[in-house]
Amino acid sequence: MLTPWLSWICALLLIAGLYGGLIYAPPDYQQGESFRIIYVHVPSAWMSMFVYVLMATAGGVGLIWHIKIAEVFAKSCAPLGASFTFLALATGSLWGKPMWGTWWVWDARLTSELILLFLYLGYMALQSAFDDRRVAARASAVLALVGLINIPIIHYSVEWWSTLHQGATVTKLDAPSIHIDMLIPLLIMALAFKLYFFTIVLIRSRTEILEYECNSKWVSDLLNETEVSK
């Protein structure tokens, strides 16, 4: 019931964010128009971390209290998180080419984002390796939690490593202060991405629950109803 509302608000925000980002915001004095990639890059990067934390937490809740909804939620998070991570990487690379002159630099953020993508892929691979849903959910929850503990360590180590290996060429990316006209669209976009995530996760979770509970009475009732109404 929530999904249509969420999706409408999300669509509105997306349009607003796009308008703000692509048209309203003034070009950056240093990077010109190319900085507009920020409006897809940064929200994706934010979401990639956010989704992982959410996924691991939900997995942990499911593991400890055996709550099915939490297991389903965690499972639905994974592909979305992976796509956000992929987007952050791809757009980061596309941004890096004109700015740094290469597609890829071994920058701390890019590298830890890449490792995050591997963590997501490992999670999804493990999830699909099990035949039984409940066992899969619990096993991958353990993995997600181990990954969650590792994320700060990975981030920290990569940061330390990259500062030792190269100068401050990357600081171009994080301009010390961002103009308010640039910031507002960014926040709108971030919010839009967040809503988008929740909308899709809801859709995914509902399908999952339906499959999970395929033996229970309410599912068969529901299906009978839809069949009658057709």
Binding site: G32, R36, H41, L223, N224
Partner: protein
């Protein structure tokens, strides 16, 4: 003229528009894929139900 400038993106058109296109593709895929799956799994469940009833 303005429109052209907009699409030109100060010379960065390729990078900017590829980024946005990629984002759009991934986001749309993530909408469509669960919807298809939902329909498919519903169909499967209905089949199952019919099998069980017989």
């Amino acid at each position: 003229m303005v429109v052209q400038e907009f699409f030109h993106m100060g010379g960065y058109a390729f990078y900017v528009w590829t980024s946005y296109a990629l984002t759009a593709v991934v986001l749309i895929f993530n909408v469509v894929q669960p919807l298809i799956r939902k329909r498919k799994s519903k169909r499967d469940l209905i089949m199952r139900l019919r099998r069980n009833l017989r």
